[in-house]
């Protein structure tokens, strides 16, 4: 049986290539049909924020890549409720269908996966 991998993405989309590089691990793994989860944590939740204008910072939009996740078979998507609350984001207006988890839920999530990569 395949080892499952949870990717924890903690970088805002404007803070450098970190957000894109975490996402690339998920997309590459999805292409190999591996059991993967992706958790948006801390500033990583900004990747899900609505009405982003990356062009104003001369950045490429991450949205197209994020929207590709289900197409690559990565459908286990999670977000931390605490991280959303701390940043004033509402879970009703996010750009992807993600499961919102409280701290107890996060703890259980980490238990479920064999391996974890945090970026």
């Amino acid at each position: 049986m395949s080892q499952s991998l949870l990717i924890v993405t903690r970088q805002a989309p404007w803070s450098g290539p970190g957000a894109r590089e975490a996402l690339d691990i998920a997309l590459a793994g999805g292409a190999f049909d591996l059991p993967l989860g992706l958790l948006f944590l801390d500033d990583g939740v900004f990747q899900l924020a609505p009405e982003q204008q990356p062009a104003s910072l001369a950045l490429k939009d991450l949205q197209a890549n994020l929207q590709a996740l289900p197409m690559f078979g990565v459908e286990a998507l999670y977000v931390s409720a605490r991280s959303l609350n701390e940043r004033g984001l509402s879970d009703g207006a996010l750009q992807l269908p993600v499961e919102v988890l409280d701290d107890v839920g996060l703890s259980a999530l980490f238990e479920r996966y064999d391996q974890v990569i945090t970026l």
């Binding site: 080892q3 970190g18 590459a28 990569i117 945090t118 970026l119």
Partner: protein
Amino acid sequence: MKFAIALFSPPHAPSSRRALRFAEAVLAGGHEIVRLFLYQDAVQHASAALVLPQDETDGARQWQTFISDNQLDAVVCIAAALRRGVLNDEEAARYDKPATVQSQAWTLSGLGQLHEANQLADRLICFGGP
């Protein structure tokens, strides 16, 4: 036990030094390293063009020696490397760049190599996340 080791921090970071000490301990303990994988700023470890003052530790060189001495499978993510100017001959020619800086100790390849290593290993150990 079989270990996959992923490194995300640049050569000057304390986590990169810890990763090397960990890798040495893995082998000293009779365990196996199925693959080393460099991603994000860690791709700088694969540069043969780093120059440090003589009285400072050259972490990238130490990794290169460790890999050669132990004949390890050591892979650099090609997309992360290109973004940071670590090219081999083939990539330098492909993108018409004047310099090749990749150390022979490492191999440029894709993220699939990280996933494959994870599947081959009992444990994935990461160093140098944010």
